[in-house]
């Protein structure tokens, strides 16, 4: 068989083996659990409230940010980077940060309101509303990116034409801009909704104490008990899977065959309108950056370095004891750091490799199974990570493979979950490469393998390195599937943080969370630096 065909068949086999067995297991096991969700319709309701609420919030904020930033604001380039920071930040830490900011009794904001200003006001983030809000804030970058892309693709002449033909700005927005953004918005809505359905850390941190359980926290608690009630848990997983499938159907029904390829004309030009509107738009973006990133992280840092929580500056005592505890006394820290870095690096590497292979086979291959591979590799996007982990439990507990309870099962879960990101990045890069670059090498006498090694792969390298860094940071922070699959030997940082959250001193949690952030950024910083040095040499 030729090398090209080996790649096609091999890639399809690997992706199918990764994606299909856990899915089948959940689908089959979901019906075996005695329809547990039917007896807890309130939890089903909570889950849907979180999914729809967070999606509406993330779409509104993300779409608003895209509209605000696309026409240019002061400091726009920096804002665009800051706005997507939550991509690199696990919602677990955002939620913990927010609980420090606005838990009803000891939250910093409430201490300030009550003790310093003496106002009878309480901001309570430990509530259903708080869960929805923090989830929406964490999920906003995705709609922002997708809608920004769509906006940039719109020929500005279409909006100007509407103005000249008599439509005031609001009418242009309603009749032209928003309808043109609909496909991107629906795609974003689906992704966010799946993310919110499978969101574990935010409802676990901010919802459970407020009596607001959702499907994911239910799954966790069912499995955390002894004996684990895996059947019931899987029934909940089946419910999430069913909802996700319905969403997928709804999206394709709504969109139909509509796709507005409008990438024809001139791009948005900086608006010439007075600066007041620009400042207003920049202010909106800064507010988002503050709420989604700066405030919770600052609260974490503050919490990790004070002896006790107070808003009174005279009483504040700074201490290194929390950092000292998590770095030197807490037994799990260093095992977890090692595991997380190893898992992050392996996941990023494997996902990049499989991603390039899939993108190549789908975009450049000639096999007939290409659409199947394409859909298969994107499937994890429409499946909550926790559902996937459940499926893996079913599959690998039964198989006589020594994988259960090791880093191996976590690696499989991560690779599958993040595969779509790798494929998307690689296809985007491959689309930019004209096939002729590769064809001319073949015509000049190179074998397929030689052309691949000398032409295509080197050209794809910059994108792959960038994708690797993002994948590493994301995998470092994964919570939802890790929490079901870890054992004492394979504990990872995010699980250690959550464990401390449940059983430890809240200030130690903040310190460990900070360690987690730092490890991710140090590794990526070193990588980017090495890459820059290599580029300079």
């Amino acid at each position: 068989m030729r090398a090209e065909n080996v790649l096609g068949v091999g890639t399809t086999a690997v992706v199918a083996l990764l994606v299909l067995p856990p899915l089948a297991a959940v689908a089959a096991g979901g019906t075996a659990g005695g329809f547990a969700p039917l007896h807890h319709l309130d939890i089903v309701g909570n889950t849907l409230l979180l999914a729809f609420g967070a999606t509406a919030g993330a779409l509104l904020i993300g779409g608003g940010l895209a509209l605000a930033l696309v026409r240019g604001v002061p400091g726009g380039a920096m804002l665009e980077r800051l706005v997507v920071m939550p991509l690199y930040l696990t919602p677990l830490l955002t939620a913990i940060g927010w609980s420090w900011l606005a838990s009803p009794h000891s939250g910093l904001i409430n201490l300030l309101l009550r003790d310093t200003f003496g106002l009878p006001l309480t901001v309570n983030i430990v509530s259903p509303g708080g869960v929805v809000l923090v989830t929406a804030l964490a999920a906003t970058p995705l709609p922002f990116l997708l809608i920004s892309d769509a906006l940039r693709g719109i020929d500005v002449a279409m909006l100007e034409a509407a103005r000249v033909h008599g439509a005031a700005p609001l009418l242009v927005l309603r009749r032209v801009t928003l309808p043109l953004l609909l496909p991107a918005a629906l795609a974003a809505a689906l992704l966010v909704m799946v993310q919110a359905l499978g969101m574990f850390s935010v409802p676990a941190v901010l919802g459970l104490p407020a009596g607001f359980p959702v499907a994911t926290t239910q799954i966790y608690q069912l499995l955390d008990n002894y004996p684990p009630r895996i059947g019931e848990a899987t029934a909940w997983g089946g419910l999430l899977l069913g909802i996700a499938a319905l969403l997928l159907l709804a999206q394709s029904a709504l969109l139909g065959t509509r796709s507005f390829a409008t990438i024809t004309g001139k791009a948005f030009r900086p608006s010439t309108k007075p600066p007041r509107a620009k400042v207003l738009r920049a202010g909106f973006a800064w507010l988002y950056v503050a709420l989604a990133t700066v405030l919770p992280i600052a609260a974490l840092l503050w919490a990790a370095s004070v002896a006790f929580a107070t808003a009174d500056v005279r009483l504040m005592r700074f201490t290194a004891q929390h950092f000292a505890y998590v770095l030197f006394a807490y037994p799990k820290t260093w095992i977890a750091v090692g595991n997380s870095v190893l898992l992050g690096a392996l996941t990023a590497t494997l996902v990049s490799l499989i991603g390039v292979a899939v993108a190549w086979v789908v975009l450049r291959g000639r096999g007939r199974g290409r659409p199947v591979l394409d859909h298969l590799s994107m499937l994890p996007l429409s499946m909550p990570a926790m559902v996937f982990a459940l499926g893996l439990l079913w599959v690998y507990v039964r198989l006589p493979l020594p994988i259960y309870g090791t880093l191996g099962i976590l690696l499989i879960a991560y690779v599958t979950h993040y595969l779509p990101f790798g494929v998307r990045a690689a296809s985007a890069a491959l689309r930019q490469l004209h096939p002729e670059l590769d064809e001319v090498a073949r015509v000049s006498g190179a074998t397929w393998l030689h052309a691949m090694r000398r032409i295509s792969l080197p050209l794809l390298r910059p994108t792959v390195i960038a994708a690797w860094a993002l994948l590493f940071v994301m995998a470092m922070q994964e919570v939802s599937s890790s929490i079901l699959l870890y054992s004492s030997r394979s504990v990872v940082l995010s699980v250690a943080v959550f464990d401390l959250w449940e059983n430890g001193n809240p200030s130690d949690v903040a310190a460990l969370g900070f360690v987690q952030l730092a490890v991710g950024f140090v590794v990526v910083g070193l990588l980017l630096r090495a890459r820059r040095d290599a580029a300079l040499a």
Binding site: D155, A157, M158, E160, A161, A162, R163, V164, H165, G166, A167, A168, P169, L171, R175, V176, P179, L180, L182, R258, F260, A261, T262, T264, G265, K266, T272, K273
Partner: protein, 363 residues
């Protein structure tokens, strides 16, 4: 084509005074004055970067000028002095964009109806007006088709129908034919001209194509570096360019420095190498260039009284015509003649230019 389109008794006119537009710190339009009478097509003609599109966008209200005044149908829509600046939707205009800007999420009907709906017209009137405008561009049968399923030429027609449907005071057209292939461009040009005459539309037409400008315009405004270089009827611009720039832009390839001498009652242009060409007055008092088109040059193999001698140095076959390059002493003369007048390179020829085909421009 039967059109019962509601024609305004007198379409509105446009008046621009001392218009200055800046992009950042660079001024792209410096003190422009343009007038358009009702029912007139005024073309802004010039190379890319001359400020013609910027001027059009300023009229539309898509760019805010720094100084000047713009009035449409007698209503001031922009005046830097008094701070009047109506938004685009309140200027009573329509526009055909270079990229057509057909909205892909609407049907052809919805596209054409947009302006009327936005301005709150009645349903029955909208249906009527849309049908009429689609009929007048020959697309009535496509009303219900999604706008994504249109060819380039059809999109162009929809854009045109959209711009006439709302019965605007002035139609602005920004290089509307430049995205079409050559044949379709000629057809659309003729169609637009017929439609414009029929409906008595007032139009401001931006193009860099001199032929398009000559065919379509009642008046041409040649622009250069944000200023009016010359404005006049197509015949004036074509036959009597006022500057080297306009002459060059209008395809006058022979532009040669000369001195003017009097020979009895006639004027003679004395060129380098002892070449003398009779020209018509009045005699200018500053240094000049003489200009004539290649097609105005008369060639002959045999000596003709008053003709100059030259050597044929280059020949290009263009189908119907031949393009020749002649060396007359230090001068290079471009001539274009019927193809059957074929000569070999290196041949000696005699050439002359009728005085009425020559014009003088400041050097």
């Amino acid at each position: 084509m039967t059109v019962t389109f509601p024609v305004k008794a007198a379409s509105a006119a446009l008046h621009i005074e001392a218009l200055v537009v800046a992009h950042g710190t660079t001024r792209v339009v410096h003190g422009l004055d343009i007038q358009a009478r009702p029912g007139e097509v005024v073309t802004l003609l010039g190379p890319s970067g001359c400020g013609k599109t910027t001027t059009l966008r300023a009229i539309a209200g898509l760019e805010t000028p720094l100084q000047g005044r713009i009035a449409i149908a007698g209503n001031t829509v922009f005046d830097a002095a008094t701070g009047i600046d109506l938004p685009p939707e309140r200027r009573g205009l329509s526009m055909v964009f270079q990229s057509y800007a057909i909205w892909p999420h609407m049907t052809v009907f919805d596209n054409v109806a947009f302006g009327l709906r936005a301005r709150g017209a009645k349903r029955a009137y909208i249906a009527d007006a849309v049908r009429h405008s689609l009929e007048s561009v020959g697309l009535a049968q496509l009303a219900d088709r999604p706008a994504t399923r249109l060819s380039g030429g059809q999109q162009q027609r929809v854009a045109l129908a959209r711009s006439i449907a709302c019965n605007p005071g002035v139609i602005l057209l920004d290089e509307p034919l430049s995205n079409l292939d050559a044949q379709l461009r000629l057809a659309m040009r003729a169609e637009f001209k017929a439609l414009q005459r029929q409906l008595g539309l007032t139009a401001i037409y931006v193009t860099h194509d001199q032929e398009e400008a000559l065919v379509l315009s009642d008046r041409i405004v040649v622009m250069r570096d944000g200023k009016v270089e010359q404005s006049g009827t197509p015949a004036e611009i074509h036959d009597a360019p006022a500057s080297r720039f306009v002459a060059d832009f209008m395809g006058v390839r022979n532009l040669l420095p000369c001195r003017i001498a009097r020979d009895g009652g006639h004027l003679l242009a004395l060129l380098a190498g002892g070449v003398a060409l009779p020209v018509r007055g009045p005699a200018p008092d500053s240094p000049v260039c003489i200009g004539f088109r290649p097609s105005a040059v008369v060639l002959s193999r045999d000596p003709v009284p008053g003709a100059c001698t030259a050597t044929l140095t280059g020949a290009t076959y263009l189908g119907d015509t031949m393009q020749y390059e002649l060396a007359a002493g230090p001068l290079t003369i471009h001539a274009r003649v019927q193809a059957r007048f074929a000569m070999a390179e290196g041949a000696a020829v005699y050439w002359s230019v009728p005085p009425e085909a020559c014009f003088l421009v400041p050097a």
